[in-house]
């Protein structure tokens, strides 16, 4: 079997390709971007399937669902908060079900390396009541992605695979197998897919009826491993996903490791959990993310005669990413000896805007325009320009979720904040900025929206964008913004004074203005040159 070097994200993607994938959709977001990056490269080479960067996660989800409706195997991938954007079709797709196999890849970011929260996608698996996978390593990521398509078609349901940053962005060698052929076209049945109450009620009962069989699927899965230690029954471990690796690392030199259950599929394999819990007195639950398993294990009343340890009670921190060191400590093992710290105070090195970045010039102009203005609020958004929060710019006052810059500025303006300014990138604007701007234009809200058009989705590595250049200006006008208050600037040092004046004028105008700052991302320029 050939061995290939793959990122965790890429292992999932290749597993899907080898399962007969026909169509894949995504919106970029760390740590999930490399799933579709890989598929785009593969599709360009093989021309065997479709791989598309969508406008946002909701459209991506629905596009993939449409391919499943058509009987084909499809994939959608996004970062954990992307699943919030796609939550509407996600929840309803558990009711319609899947026709062709449908894999949903959601990459969580415990520790918030590049995210605004550390929500745990396993709650969505439980919420929608569908099967879920949580790989521990690259080989599993590949094997589970392949298997997930069969499971999806067996249950007629989407299957979610939960990744975490450390697996998404770790590389290792994976053994691959021959690809399966793609499905033929075969439309879904109308009575399943038209979610009128009369159909939806029946489909929901079907979903509930499948639950016991799904638990059996989990109990029989080869990815869940139960090992009981008969000599020491005082203590055992339940470990899921990447946490399983840290557990095995910590006990690698034990002749016989403590009893453990590796959990890799959802719903929880109840029978295996009962066996482990019955065997030991105390159970340590190791999971990266929320205490999802621990909370279910304890319930409201705990387990009589047993001690459950984890994030809720016990030795693991409730927030942040797990590490081998944290798990080692939780298992009561001595830390390894290490070199003492140098004693020299180490200056931090936070991320920053690139040298020559157009956003830097845009923020300088905005800061100058707002100099001496009291009460100004700058609502920002998700992208490289969020770094405008850091010195030397200190230019923004909020960053919440995709598109919130415009809607929050509207709300703040409605209740009297002046001036209310939004700062949003072109890709984020296409993702979730159009709809709030449509509403603000209808009301001619007193606010100034600055769209930073750098012609790419920069933070995640330069994926395509759909609202850029002349098309962006037409979009803004088409949404109903008055033409005389759609202004264009080129954020360059030589235009600084002119740009400051334009921003000042539009802030002074007590209605809706849109200032589009047009200059290409320097990273993208560099890529084109080399």
């Amino acid at each position: 079997m050939p061995r290939q070097i793959l990122l965790g994200d890429e292992a999932v993607a290749l597993g899907a390709v080898h399962a007969g994938l026909s169509a894949a959709y995504s919106y970029p977001g760390t740590p999930a971007s490399e799933v579709l990056e890989y598929l785009v490269r593969q599709a360009a080479e093989s021309k065997a399937f479709t791989a598309v960067w969508s406008v946002n996660e909701k459209t991506a989800y629905e596009e993939a669902l449409g391919a499943s409706f058509a009987g084909k195997r499809s994939l959608v991938s996004f970062k954990h908060v992307g699943l919030n954007v796609a939550a509407d079709p996600f929840m309803n797709s558990a009711i319609t079900g899947a026709n062709g196999g449908f894999l949903v890849v959601s990459a969580d970011d415990p520790g918030m390396h590049s995210s605004q929260n550390e929500q745990d996608s396993r709650y969505y698996v439980q919420f929608a009541q569908i099967p879920g996978y949580e790989p521990s390593d690259h080989q599993e990521a590949y094997d589970m992605a392949r298997e997930a398509y069969d499971v999806s078609e067996r249950f007629g349901l989407p299957v979610l695979m939960r990744l975490v940053t450390r697996l998404s962005h770790s590389r290792s060698a994976v053994e691959t197998r021959d690809a399966r052929a793609q499905n033929g076209l075969k439309k879904g049945a109308e009575k399943d897919w038209i979610l009128l109450p009369v159909n939806a009620r029946r489909r929901f009962v079907r979903l509930l009826d499948l639950q016991a069989e799904m638990t059996r699927f989990s109990e029989e899965s080869r990815f869940n491993i139960l090992r009981l230690n008969d000599r020491d029954r005082s203590f055992g471990v339940i470990a899921s996903g990447i946490a399983y690796n840290y557990f095995r690392e910590a006990v690698a030199s034990d002749a016989v490791p403590p009893s453990f259950l590796k959990v890799s599929t959802y719903p929880l394999p109840e029978k295996l959990i009962r066996e482990l819990v019955g065997h030991v007195g105390a159970i340590l639950v190791l999971e990266d993310g929320y205490p999802f398993i621990e909370r279910q294990l304890k319930g409201l009343f705990g387990i009589a005669g047993k001690t459950v340890l984890g994030k809720m009670s016990g030795p693991l921190p409730a927030s942040g990413e797990l590490t081998p060191d944290i798990v080692r400590r939780a298992l009561g093992r001595e830390p390894l000896a290490s070199l003492p710290a140098s004693g020299l105070p180490l200056a931090g090195r936070p991320p920053q805007l690139c040298v020559g970045c157009p956003h830097a010039d845009a923020f300088k102009a905005l800061n100058k325009a707002l100099e001496g203005v009291t009460g100004a609020s700058v609502f920002s958004d998700i992208g490289c320009y969020t770094l405008g929060a850091l010195p030397p710019y200190n230019a923004i006052h909020s960053c919440v979720c995709m598109g919130a810059s415009i809607s929050m500025a509207r709300g703040a303006s409605d209740v009297g904040l002046y001036p209310a300014v939004s700062v949003i990138g072109d890709s984020t604007f296409a993702h979730s900025g159009l709809t709030p701007l449509l509403g603000a234009a209808a009301a001619n809200t007193d606010m100034t929206v600055i769209i930073l058009d750098n012609a790419t989705t920069a933070m995640t590595g330069g994926q395509p964008t759909y609202g850029s250049g002349p098309g962006l200006l037409r979009l803004v006008e088409g949404l109903g913004v008055a033409k005389e208050h759609i202004r264009t600037i080129e954020p360059l040092p030589k235009h600084h004074d002119k740009n400051v004046q334009i921003i000042k004028d539009e802030i002074a105008y007590r209605g809706l203005s849109v200032v589009v700052a047009v200059r290409e991302c320097v990273q993208e320029q560099r890529k084109k040159r080399s």
Binding site: S170, A252, A337
Partner: protein
């Protein structure tokens, strides 16, 4: 046989290329490996590190525990110092002496180098000078890889073959500069 390495540097300095070469050499040598890296926001001029684990047996964790690293391999001196608590008491530090100053409070370089020399084993090479000598200042990462190569459990020919694969497509001058950068780094480390 196993070896755990912390790769360190600043976003954009090419530590992922070092990782790429080591990954492929490990595959060629029939070793297991796991290599955890940083993408996204931190790549924008911030401190970046990669955990590189090599072994002839099963590797569990993608991350190296503190006190578990056999080597810190850094393209930048301050960044080498940042991960000292990951190093085994007898571990080795291989680092560039060339500072990357994109922060206002960068400490005095001499003090940084002095602190690095407190490690029981350290190899400090002037990667900027050697890369320029090789033909391109961009090859500082490969200078460092060369400097580390004598201490790695990988076959030198596997490393060189991957460097060849990596740079061949970018033209003969780039390839030759990088091969020379590797050699200069290797010689400098052995002579230090």
């Amino acid at each position: 046989m196993k070896q755990d390495i912390i790769l360190a540097g600043v976003g954009g300095q090419g530590i992922l290329s070092i990782a790429y070469v080591i990954d492929n050499a490990a595959l060629a040598d029939g070793l297991f490996f796991k290599q955890a890296e940083v993408h996204g926001m931190a790549q924008r001029g911030g401190a970046v590190q990669s955990h590189m684990r090599l072994s002839d047996g099963t590797i569990w964790s993608d991350l190296i525990p503190k006190g578990g690293a056999d080597m810190i391999l850094s393209v930048e001196p301050l960044e080498a110092l940042r991960y000292f608590d990951y190093l085994k008491p007898d571990g080795i530090v291989v680092t560039s002496s060339t500072p990357f100053r994109n922060i206002p409070d960068y400490p005095e370089v001499d003090k940084v180098l002095e602190a690095i020399r407190k490690a029981p084993r350290s190899v400090i090479v002037d990667s900027e000078k050697l890369a320029k000598e090789a033909g391109t200042v961009k090859a500082q990462n490969i200078v460092l890889l060369g400097a580390a190569s004598s201490f790695l459990i990988l076959k030198p020919e596997s490393l060189l073959k991957t460097i060849d694969d990596l740079f061949r497509g970018r033209g003969t001058p780039v390839l030759e500069a990088n091969l020379k950068a590797f050699d200069l780094g290797k010689s400098a480390a052995l002579g230090s």
